[in-house]
Amino acid sequence: MEVIHSDVLIIGGGLAGLRTALAARKRGNNVIILSLVPPKRSHSAAAQGGMQASLANTSKGAGDNEDVHFEDTVRGSDWGNDQEVARMFVHSAPKAVRELAAWGVPWNRVQAGDHEAIIDGQRVTLSEPAAARGLITARDFGGTKKWRTCYVSDGTGHAMLYAVSDQAIAAGIPVHERMEAVSLIHDGARCYGAIVRNLINGRLLAYVARATCIATGGFGRIYQSTTNAVINEGIGAAIALETGVVPLANMEAVQFHPTAIFPAGILVTEGCRGDGGLLRDVDGYRFMPDYEPEKKELASRDVVSRRMESHIRSGKGASNRFGEHLWLVITLLGEAHINHKLREVKEICQYFLGVDPAEQYIPVRPAQHYTMGGVRTNHTGQTPTLRGLFAAGEAACWDMHGFNRLGGNSVAETVVAGMIVGEAIADFCATPEGDMQVSTALVRASWEKAGAEFAAIADNRGGESASVLLLRMQAIMTTQVGIVRHHENLAAAVDELQQLILRSRQVGLHATRAGANPELTTAWRLQRMLKLALCVAYGALQRTESRGAHFREDFPRRNDAEWLKRTLASWPVADQTLPSLDYEALAVSGMELPPGWRGYGARDAIEHPGTAVRQAEIDDIRAAMTGADRHAVQQALMPFRHLLPPHLRGPNARLRDSA
């Protein structure tokens, strides 16, 4: 048994993992990153349209600040998120974008003077002040009051990932590529690292570390129709679940992106609509203003996706040989804009559809895109139930997104979470709690257990096929646990997924191969992905309300009276075929922004009894502080700065400091 030691083990080499590693390394820790693929190939690279940060440099961003970004984020979450975490995030996002600027990200910049833009289908002239020249510019995105999304053409994630990955290389942080963590080494109370499979030679290694962080991204690949990369199988979250003591939170909160090209499911950025693109139906009719007069195409993703699906159901979908879809139209933006600001979109349309988006309509249909749920952590990324285990980014649920995340908030979250969680890991390692006494017998037992699991699959002569079961699971999730949910479909999905778990234990391999046999890898992962799928489906079945991206046709109203709470799914006994569900309440009494109407979507929420009380308190505080500085008012409503690492607490400078 080969054992590799470090202070900190980061599982995942995307933006969240890399940025966490940098923070921990800077404090003097010895850090190792594990990555399924070379880190610059991580799914972070696929973030196209941009990163939200309230810099307020542009004319359409004037007046923006942390308060506005906070309210947008909470409304976007449909009041399902942790408002303190949202506050920590919006306060740190400008710092993150400025740090990235210093690290070389070629953010698009403000051009002073007049320029043309398309707003609500009309060509308008905007004017940028000379004072803003050369500062970071921003575009419009869904669910936001201001133009806040900082961008690098439509390759924002790529540029960020390369800059941060280059910093990790500069810092000498080793990335062990083509490595997959297959279980956590733990004793039920503390985590000591992970058992890891080398995906080149198939060997199992033990990585022993004082602190371990899961930053493995989302699990979109449990769905058939998804924008996610093929590596987004959620194994990081699954191995946390398999400890039996770490719950996954809000797994039923799954985001569907409105504009995935049809049928390939490849994303074209929300920036298309942010920059003025429109959605049209079979008749060429622009339908979104009928449903959403306030925000039209730029309501939040959950709302736009739902409206699109119901418009297709009403018989207004266009169709091609693969099925029904709608049209995304960006022809009105002009070729020059598309060539400079939407060039990845142009390439994707040309290569995968044979369509020139400057001349032709783009066939789109909503597809799974993001998982708000993940490893439950506190506001510093630490799991409350397994000391020494942290999580960051999409893999985590520190819960800044609640039941729907805003576009541009996730790629921003990766780096902000890295800055905060990496610091918390360093703090942890600097205390006596960060020391560990690990038993070599425990490490060996973990290694042997993982080895036995792979051997059991490799030696199984059962008649089931891993790839067939995988496709079936993905089909169930897309058709029955998708955008529109209903008791009947969900119950049937839960039943069949449970059967699939049993069948997945009877998979026989067709091939043997020296080294890491890809079929063995698939069969092993399938069993974990099914557990995640069940957490999603069972959580969705039990949640008898609609909130954000979780929409129940049979319970269409948001029910704050009964469901203002976070779902916790755990898997205490390995053999069970359903997760154990538990709930933790979100306290209205502490909210800075009590539940209300989002400004788009449905208005018929069932009110929580505490909402009116809290609103009255807030009104009183605001009245008593009339004329006070906005920071002081915010501090009185819901203090958060003490939760941040000291170097992230300072005020963010803006061009117009009145903001």
């Binding site: 190939r41 974008v97 210093a102 910049r109 051009q111 390759g155 044979g354 020296a514 890809p518 170097h647």
Partner: protein, 252 residues
């Protein structure tokens, strides 16, 4: 240029495709590299990503290849497609003949079948060329960012679009002869950081990194790199410009 001309889909019967794949498993001492033919039925809009996954799920479960984004963004799936380096995920079978051949990228360490270890080579090259922003100033996270002209930011992004897929190396004459050549990917990185005012290095510093036959003077100007780059990076002009600058420095 992005090819927009497509072969017309044949009416009626879908085509039967014969895909010859160069197979080899270095983990197995008995494995010899050999071409194996797989037959599949073509589907509408089929990419090599779809075709290879179908072969793996129905014909050879042990087949190794690398895909990540399957959208032409991440650079994982570069391979030789009928002898030419390209991204398999965004190559449509309808643009290819009935018989096609797939082989792993040359030059890089073979992992197995169509999978090669580009990541290890790219990290090594980044370390060698110190391919990151060199700037010792402390970043004030609370202050306004440093200004940059919009045109300069766009020019940097133009070079920053490299996805480290390895196609340029596979298409490079020098790389076939000179194992340590940094290739177009390496030279483009130097050009990118040289252009960036946030990087405080001078041309003398860059000369130390690439002023030899493993760097800018190793390029024979065959420019296979430029022809096969899936991101259409301006490699020809960047390499020529860099060579002029570095040669001037060498002669001064």
């Amino acid at each position: 240029m992005i090819p927009l001309v497509r072969l017309q889909p044949s009416p009626g019967q879908p085509r039967r495709l014969t895909i010859n794949i160069l197979l080899c498993n270095p983990a197995d001492p008995l494995s010899l590299a050999h071409l194996q033919a797989f037959e599949i039925e073509e589907a509408d809009g089929m990419t090599l990503f779809i075709a290879l996954n179908e072969i793996r799920s129905t014909q050879d479960a042990s087949l190794q290849f690398d895909f990540v984004c399957r959208a032409g963004i991440c650079g994982s799936c570069a391979m030789l497609i009928d002898g030419r380096p390209g991204l398999a995920c965004r190559t449509l079978t309808r643009d290819l003949g009935d018989h096609l051949t797939l082989a792993p990228l040359p030059f890089f360490e073979l992992i197995g079948d169509l999978s090669v270890n580009t990541g290890k080579w790219m990290r090594g090259t980044s370390e060698r060329l110190q391919a990151w922003i060199h700037n010792s100033a402390t970043v004030d996270l609370d202050a306004l960012e440093q200004r940059m002209e919009p045109e300069l930011a766009e020019a940097i992004y133009e070079l920053d679009r490299c996805i480290e897929c390895g196609c340029c190396i596979a298409g490079c004459g020098t790389a076939q002869m000179r194992e340590k050549f940094v290739g177009a990917v390496g030279l483009n990185k130097v050009a990118r950081f040289r252009l960036d005012p946030r990087d405080t290095r001078s041309d003398d510093d860059f000369y130390e990194l690439i002023g030899d036959d493993d760097g800018i003077f190793g390029c024979m100007s065959l420019l296979g790199c430029h022809d096969v780059c899936p991101k259409q990076l301006p490699l020809q002009t960047q390499i020529a410009y860099l060579r002029r600058k570095m040669a001037a420095l060498a002669l001064s």
